[in-house]
């Protein structure tokens, strides 16, 4: 079987939540050993043994019982639930024998389970956040709220068998149906937005500084109006200078919009002066520049959404009237 989905969080994400994660491996000490034959010892009812450790060192798995013929080799007979170990010294009194699972496998299992749980709990599409200029500050492929939530649940899955209290403490901030609700519940109910979901800032036009010269001190600070269509506009400074109140502005700009050949491929405003008031952006929008230095070539994107977007905001109150 296979999957097209990938895990949302990494082991590093998990360790950022619980630095001592490495202490929560699933090893268990095998305390009862009896001589099977010569230097071969056996431990019955050992439980599944993926890896056997002696004094913290991983031992060598033999192909079958007959091949257990030198120090440090073992064989686990799953049908009888017995592990056989060749040891020169008694494993009971001279060593500590632990059965367990490779720690990386345990972590991977927890990450996979947590990712699947997050997808189920959020109950809305989870899209990857990938592409040039599309990621957030952390430059990760998923929303940070999802990454942290998945990591916390993965940590809780690993810790819970040994410390239920700590696991609950770690998980409840991210996953809690009670009060206060967890971050995943807030995402599900629309209080926390994922990157692709519409929010007030996007319907009014989201300003994204893309290429701004290091000597530039001014900026685009506000958008007003309602866009006539959805587009990703570009405001670009064509003549640099200093914008200061009380002085005629030398700063010129142009605006690029999309057409049927691509995005920002056609000029809809050109040679306009950046006044510091609400200047023409096009498509029914205006924008405001702040005082300061602007450099030729500076540009900003404006992510504008037209119409009444689906906000996924929760309905807080509703009134029905009958006439």
């Amino acid at each position: 079987m296979s999957t097209y989905l990938e895990t949302i969080c990494t082991q590093e994400d998990m360790q950022s939540i619980l630095p001592s994660l490495g202490e929560y491996n699933r090893n268990t000490v095998l305390t009862t050993w009896a001589i099977y034959s010569g230097n071969v010892y056996k431990s019955a009812s050992s439980g599944r043994v993926d890896i056997l450790y002696r004094d913290g060192n991983e031992l060598t798995l033999a192909a079958n019982l007959a091949a257990v013929d030198s120090d440090g080799e073992y064989f686990y007979d799953s049908s009888k639930d017995v592990v056989y170990l060749f040891s020169s010294a008694s494993p009971s009194t001279s060593h500590t024998i632990e059965s367990g699972k490779d720690f990386t496998d345990t972590v991977t299992e927890a990450r996979n389970r947590a990712s699947e749980l997050v997808r189920s709990m959020v109950a809305k599409p989870i899209y990857k956040r990938k592409g040039v200029g599309y990621q957030g500050e952390t430059t990760r492929n998923y929303d940070e709220v999802l990454i942290l939530s998945a990591a916390a649940i993965a940590v809780a899955l690993m810790v819970r068998p040994f410390d239920s209290e700590l696991a609950t403490e770690i998980e409840e901030k991210y996953n809690n149906e009670g009060d206060p609700p967890g971050i995943l519940q807030l995402i599900r109910d629309g209080f926390i937005k994922l990157h692709h979901e519409f929010s007030a800032d996007r319907s009014q036009g989201l300003i994204i500084p893309v290429s701004v010269n290091s000597s530039t001190t001014g900026s685009i600070v506000d958008i007003s109006g309602s866009p006539s269509r959805t587009d990703m506009l570009r405001i670009q400074i064509t003549t640099g200078g200093t914008l200061a109140y009380g002085t005629a502005s030398p700063v010129k700009y142009k605006v690029l919009a999309s057409d049927d050949t691509g995005v920002q491929t056609t000029t809809i405003v050109e040679g306009e002066t950046l006044t510091g008031g609400y200047d023409t952006l096009g498509m029914g929008l205006r924008f405001k520049g702040s005082q300061g230095v602007f450099t030729s070539g500076d540009y900003w994107f404006v992510d504008a959404i037209s119409g009444t977007p689906e906000t996924q905001n929760p309905i807080r109150t509703s009134t029905a009237r009958r006439y």
Partner: protein, 174 residues
């Protein structure tokens, strides 16, 4: 004039850690109060430094007593076959620890730790006592409790604990 002293308690604890970790290879050793217990791995030791007392004062020094509680934790459920499943193992661990300390009841480092030497002439006597890397004498496990009192955090069904009381004396010259 600055007071010259030797960090005997710390040196004793370092030495105890060293001999336990050498004997019980792969068994982690922590230093955590039972009230702050955390399930760290399937089995581990926790060394809890205890009191330091003056046993006797002499003209040229003093004899001090030091105490450390050694708690051993094993994550294993207490099943019906408790005797073979848990107790035999715990008792073997305890006896091995007793024999280890008996063998090292007069403990000196096998390696000279010259980094610890004082180099000033004013503490010349101390330099010579450091050279033989004396750590303690009369080291012993005074008692082992296989059912010690537990803190709230240690009160888990699948956790087995024994506590050994380590005592030793350190002769300090002035």
């Amino acid at each position: 004039m600055a007071i010259v002293f030797k960090p005997n308690h710390r040196r004793m604890l370092d030495a105890l850690t060293d001999i336990i970790s050498t004997e019980f290879t792969g068994t982690p050793i922590y230093y955590e109060d039972p009230d702050r217990f955390k399930s760290r791995s399937s089995q581990f030791f926790s060394l809890i430094p205890g009191e330091s007392t003056l046993v006797q004062s002499y003209a040229g020094g003093s004899l001090r007593g030091y105490q450390v509680s050694i708690r051993y934790y094993l994550r294993k459920p207490r099943l019906d076959n408790y005797r073979t499943n848990v107790f035999d193992f715990m008792a073997d661990r305890g006896e091995r620890l007793i024999r280890l300390i008996n063998n090292k009841n007069k403990y000196e480092d096998s390696v000279n730790t010259f980094s610890e030497l004082d180099t000033t002439f004013g503490t010349l006597a101390d330099v010579f006592s450091s050279i033989i890397t004396y750590r303690w004498h009369n080291g012993r496990i005074d008692n082992i409790d296989y059912d010690p009192s537990r803190s709230e955090r240690e009160n888990k069904r699948d956790l087995q604990i024994f506590e050994a009381d380590f005592l030793c004396n350190v002769m300090e010259t002035t």
